[in-house]
């Protein structure tokens, strides 16, 4: 019964995540940017924009310019999250390739980075007057949710290990539309419930910053308005 509930939960969560984010991305992609508004100095070539975007999403360049503490906590959290996510690939494939085994220790200890980053960011929501002012309940809940995921994950790795092979079998089964038995380990269930919740709220929350940044006209536009005429379809109709 438990396995069935969680199987349904993850199918639904995945569907909402993929369809929801997909629809949002389609919306962003289809909405025209009527004017050239890159924040200058901006790159004058497409490659330059790719580089700018790369620096933005890999190094958080603008955030670094802005505030070193937010940058430190935010960057450590996000980069650690990638390492942890990569490590989790092992639960969805049968044969573990060499590079994934190599990543394993990094992925494990990166969890501390995630926790540290989240605690730092959350601390600022209480300690810095300006950030306290702009925080909504949902901002706190999001951090609570992420921290729940991280801490429950760390507990399973460092304190009370569940039957991880069964967990893997369960997820491999889901990929093949079969429902295997999920161990009824309370920490595991907390972890999985929180992850599914995160997937479900992704397309209706501020987590949309992840796809959003790629569609930000101030960051993704080429600075060439004099050389190349830019015209939105609805604006072209004005010229009629």
């Amino acid at each position: 019964m438990l396995s069935v509930i969680y199987a349904i939960l993850f199918y639904v969560a995945t569907a909402i995540l993929v369809v929801g984010v997909g629809m949002k991305i389609r919306k962003y992609a289809r909405t025209p940017a009527p004017l050239k508004i890159p924040t200058t100095p901006a790159p004058t070539t497409a490659w330059g924009v790719v580089l700018r975007m790369f620096r933005e999403v890999v190094f958080f360049e603008s955030l670094f310019k802005s505030n070193k503490w937010i940058w430190l906590f935010g960057w450590v959290f996000h980069m650690s999250m990638w390492l942890v996510l990569i490590r989790h690939i092992r639960y969805f494939i049968i044969e573990i390739p060499g590079w994934l085994s190599f990543m394993q220790p990094f992925g494990i200890y990166a969890s501390f980075g995630m926790a540290l980053g989240l605690i730092g960011l959350w601390g600022r929501r209480f300690l810095v007057e300006r950030i306290r002012y702009i925080s909504n309940p949902s901002d706190h809940l999001m951090l609570a949710l992420l921290l729940t995921i991280v801490i429950s994950g760390m507990l399973m790795r460092f304190v009370a290990r569940p039957d991880i092979l069964s967990v893997k079998a369960f997820f491999l089964g889901l990929l093949r539309l079969r429902i295997e038995t999920l161990p009824a380990d309370p920490i595991l269930l907390v972890h999985l419930t929180a992850v599914a919740t995160l997937m479900i709220v992704f397309p209706i929350s501020k987590l949309l910053h992840a796809p959003g940044v790629f569609f930000s006209p101030t960051r993704n536009q080429i600075d060439n308005p004099r050389e190349k005429r830019h015209l939105a379809p609805w604006a072209a109709k004005l010229e009629g």
């Binding site: 901006a42 910053h209 604006a235």
Partner: protein, 510 residues
Amino acid sequence: MADGDDLRKMEHPLDIPCLRPGAMEGLEPFIAAPEHQAKLGFPGELVPNWKEKALEKMAELAEKNRAFQVYLDACVKCGACTDKCHYFLGTGDPKNMPVARQDLLRSVYRRYFTFAGKYFPKLVGARELTEEVLHEWYSYYHQCSECRRCSVFCPYGIDTAEITMAAREILDHVGIGQKYSNEIIGKVKDVGNNLGLNPKALRATLEDLEEEIEDDTGISVRLPLDEKGADILLVTPSADFFAEPHIDGLIGYAKVFHETGASWTLSSYASEAANFGLFIGSYENMREISLRIRKAAEDLGVKRIIFGECGHAWRVAYSFLNTLAGPFDFLDQNYPIPQHILEYTWDAIQKGKLKFDKSQNDHIRLTFHDSCNVARASRMGDMPGGQFEIPRNVIRAVCNHFYDMPDETIREATLCCGGGGGLLTDDLMDLRKKGASPRMTALQQVTEEHGVTHMAAICAICKTQFSKVMPVFGYEMDSIVSVHQLVSNAIILTGQETGEDGNEDEDGGA
């Protein structure tokens, strides 16, 4: 409301204040009268179905403008922008923090257009649109100069100016317009410039200037108006025709054109570079004003268009003119379309076409204020950042004593003058003084360190704003100068008697 006499003493230009909730609450610039609204195609007063209309407009903007759509979704409330707005630094009002300013509109957007906001409004800070909210918008979206400093520092590039423009556009569509901006746009449509200066008066002004230059230099320098067949159409902010120090800049352009032997003209039909359509976020109005420039260029049969010193005008010209009024197939494609007067002057300097006596500016110890729209929304020259280098190059070519203000207050991080974005009106003087505080504090630092006496700017709004607020901070009102005023001081016109200084090395030592 205090008239700026409760100015905060700042330790340094970016000194973060403690929050003072409500400090600027209720500050509203004068509301546009029905006749001002009508000329722009907006209802004259608050329409009965304002709520429906406002939400309709909001939905339309989300459909038509990707920035609006993405920026309303993407903010994570990280706080990176919270200390970046000069109005927040100057007032301490938390609603002047960029994210909080955006949230005034985002909260309404969420309530009506997002799942979370519809079903869990409290959780995500969503709220109903009420008449009070409309007035809160009117107040705080007229405490933003659309300077984009926050957008530099946002990890997603969220540009509060886009939200401010959208909010003003929505307000205009329900009948709440700002008198200052909308009245001026009406004048441009009626007469051709923000001042309502008619062709006759303009011609008289230009003739006076020609006389003044001849008296000063003994050389006849022309300021042509409506001359068909000229090569270059100069479009400059109308403040250049009458205000100080703007007018000295105009004299500078004329001298540069004279020395380079250019055939140029001003247009009475397009006697305005400024385009307040930008400030109110109205594509249609911005386009209509831009099309006047195209028409003037076509009617006069010019080959090139050059813009004078004006910040937001250069944004509209550089970034939008091709979009709004292009394509400019009929102009000479060998030159940038449009070109900035500083690009033109710097090019002439590099080619050795201009001679200077830099010592003519020795009474000035100078710093340079990067105007926000030039710095963060445009470019000069071929390289990114040319908008910072070219003005400084020209200044160094004509001026011996130049010192930059602290790095975190110039170039892309430049602080707004406090009067941009449609706020250059007396009914917002308190806000303008407070908003200028960070810039003025940066200026005071270079005054202490290097004895700086003057600040140059390349924006009509900056110049007017500073000449008003600098006295509050202990400077003479003529401490603000045009860059081309410095060029004008130093330039030696061919045939000009230079008196006893004539034999001095005109490069001055660089």
